[in-house]
């Protein structure tokens, strides 16, 4: 019985790290660009499909793991250059409209290329099977997922807190104008941040591929989950995205052994509770 809970807690951590990767991208983009990306779920889906396609083409999961997120990030970089940046000066309503448009195009394009029925993605051979720790056995891939996303999370923290790029992003979140006046190329910074944030969603898509597969209509659900995480953690906060992601992952995973049908429902219950107690989220600022 205890083992079952340990199993679900580990599952929850893995799921939570995926949610963290999705929402931290959303949060970084919003923090610096004050731009709401409703296509975030669409780019996650693209990551999952790239994982499928690259595995089909090369047979190497590692290729998909590196090239998938890079490809998604590159597409976001192009989209930012030709489209997204033209909407920065407009109200949020138009951000939403333009990115909903992008999400629809991504969804339909995936259906055209890969068909309306979802694809399942095999777990890479080297990561198949279980790791045995005493009496307890745990799937290798899920363990890899937790460790790998923890490494990525740490690297991201270093990038944001310990490099010049990160300093610019954080300063830009406080005052874009000031950073621009101090001589930083703000448009280059915007493009890179957008590509980074969306690339993280792509990475989450690739990583969750072998567990959840790729499906053309997964975008909206993922977007909804990312919003829940951000509402719980507080928008614009790295720690908030991490804690919020883990809470949601754990709630979903633990509930799925207690009340499987209601697992998704409980997530939103948790969100409502946080909103009641702390309207600005756990780590948000008023």
């Amino acid at each position: 019985m205890l083992n079952l809970y340990l199993f679900q807690i580990l599952n929850g951590l893995g799921l939570g790290m995926i949610y963290f990767l999705i929402s931290v991208g959303l949060t970084i983009i919003f923090g610096l660009l004050n731009f709401v990306n409703f296509a975030h779920g669409g780019f996650f889906m693209l990551g999952a499909y790239f994982c499928y396609a690259l595995l089909q083409a090369t047979g190497q999961f590692w290729v998909a793991l590196v090239a998938g997120p890079l490809a998604v990030g590159a597409m976001a970089w192009v989209a930012e250059k030709v489209l997204i940046r033209r909407a920065y000066h407009l109200p949020h309503t138009f951000h939403i409209l333009i990115t909903v448009g992008v999400a629809l195009i991504l969804q339909e394009a995936c259906i055209i290329v890969w068909g309306p029925i979802g694809k399942s993605i095999p777990i890479p051979e080297t990561l198949q099977g279980v790791v045995i720790m005493g009496k307890f056995a745990y799937p290798k891939y899920r363990l890899f997922l937790i460790l790998f996303s923890a490494v990525i999370g740490f690297a991201l923290w270093v990038l944001l807190e310990r490099t010049r790029f990160g300093a610019l992003v954080r300063a830009g979140s406080e005052s874009t104008e000031m950073v621009s006046l101090l001589g930083a190329d703000i448009y280059k910074l915007f493009s890179l941040t957008f590509a980074l944030g969306v690339g993280l969603a792509g990475l989450a898509g690739v990583l969750s591929g072998p567990i959840r597969g790729a499906h053309p209509f997964m975008g909206p659900e993922v977007l909804g989950l990312a919003f829940v995480v951000v509402v719980i953690g507080g928008m614009g906060s790295f720690t908030g995205a991490l804690v919020g992601g883990l809470i949601i992952g754990l709630v979903q995973s633990l509930m799925s052994s207690l009340w499987p049908e209601g697992a998704s429902l409980m997530i939103y219950g948790a969100m409502a509770a946080v909103i009641l107690l702390r309207p600005y989220g756990l780590f948000g600022r008023a």
């Binding site: 919003f30 709401v36 489209l83 033209r86 909407a87 407009l90 949020h92 309503t93 138009f94 939403i96 409209l97 333009i98 909903v100 448009g101 992008v102 999400a103 629809l104 195009i105 969804q107 339909e108 394009a109 259906i111 055209i112 909206p220 659900e221 977007l223 909804g224 919003f227 829940v228 951000v230 509402v231 928008m235 049908e261 209601g262 998704s264 429902l265 939103y268 219950g269 969100m271 409502a272 909103i275 009641l276 309207p279 600005y280």
Partner: protein, 328 residues
């Protein structure tokens, strides 16, 4: 012409224009069913417009109220033996109650957080409908939704089984909602909403309880949206799970913004354009939503006032040219 349409009176130009559209719509379109569908979505867009265009509140969770209205009215008719009018009333009341609950939580936050909260709560409704598959049919949808006769106090007034008869009911209800919405907008309540949209801090400083006003608008919007949902269920005799999905919220918001948020007529225009195009294009190319995505991007780039803004602009220019032509 535009001045005529903008005239403030309840019985002024805009009301007459809508009445004329309601009469002409089934004659111009290939089927009365399509016309009913347009008006039902126009009703939902109008409720969304009331929030966005006048209160400045972008709700991305209107699908929750639409779906709840569909399910509630259908279940009341199937299991409760409700007639047409009680079922519609039940849906509207349920929509109002649900909107009050969601609004109570969501209106704590403004701007983009409000948008995210409404979206998240509508996703919650989606999963609830999915979980309660014993009642809602889950993924298969709720089948065999009846369309009862129109009757009052047990007296049968009309048989609605023909598409034309049902269109008449929908058109009458739409007209009532439209006139009602105009009254609300022109009332002190409506002016206060606009004041809150323009500057919430200032409206609060004057002494208005802004949260209270936003809640009321949200409740009203929920009731109208649920009514539209109930009418849609009776139109297609079926409640697909999609009625409460995020795509429904998305469609309602898209219709509202594409139509234009400056005027209630914009909602009718937006719903008309999207439903008609969807009807024509989906038969030609199943992936037509890709064109919709493209259209959204183009509208943000070139037509930010929406279709109604475009129509107004064109009319103004036309009139100016004519005036110039008439001048000696």
């Amino acid at each position: 012409m535009t001045a005529f349409l903008k005239s403030k009176g309840i019985f002024g130009g805009m009301t007459l224009a809508v009445a004329a559209i309601l009469v002409l719509l089934p004659l111009l379109l290939p089927s009365a069913t399509l016309a009913s569908e347009i008006l039902i979505f126009a009703m939902a867009a109008l409720a969304c417009n009331l929030l966005l265009g006048y209160g400045g509140l972008l709700s991305f969770g209107q699908g929750l109220f639409f779906g709840a209205g569909s399910y509630l009215a259908s279940l009341a008719m199937i299991h409760g033996g409700f007639g047409l009018i009680p079922a519609l009333l039940a849906a509207a009341v349920a929509g109002a109650v649900l909107a009050t609950c969601v609004g109570w939580l969501s209106i704590r936050r403004a701007g983009i957080y409000f948008v995210m909260l409404t979206l998240a709560f509508s996703q919650m409704g989606y999963f609830l409908a999915y979980t309660l598959s014993k009642w809602t049919g889950g993924d298969n949808g709720l089948l065999d939704v009846p369309r009862p006769d129109l009757s009052l106090f047990g007296i049968r007034i009309a048989d609605l089984s023909s598409a034309g008869a049902y269109y008449t009911l929908v058109a009458v209800l739409f007209f009532a909602v439209f006139v009602g919405a105009r009254r609300v907008i022109d009332s002190p309540f409506g002016s206060t909403l606009v004041a809150i949209r323009e500057n919430e801090t200032r409206a609060a400083a004057i002494g208005f309880d802004t949260r209270h006003f936003k809640m009321l608008a949200f409740t009203l919007s929920g009731a109208v949206t649920a009514l539209a949902g109930a009418l849609y269920a009776m139109l297609i005799n079926y409640v697909p799970l999609d009625n409460i999905a995020m795509s429904m919220s998305e469609n309602i918001v898209i219709m509202t913004i594409i139509g234009g948020t400056g005027s209630l007529l914009g909602s009718l225009l937006g719903a008309g354009a999207l439903v008609t195009l969807g009807d024509i294009l989906s038969a030609m190319w199943p992936r037509w939503q890709m064109l919709l995505g493209l259209a959204l991007i183009l509208i943000v780039m070139f037509l930010r006032g929406g279709l109604w803004g475009g129509v107004e602009h064109a009319l103004d220019r036309f009139l100016k040219i004519r005036e110039k032509g008439n001048a000696p």
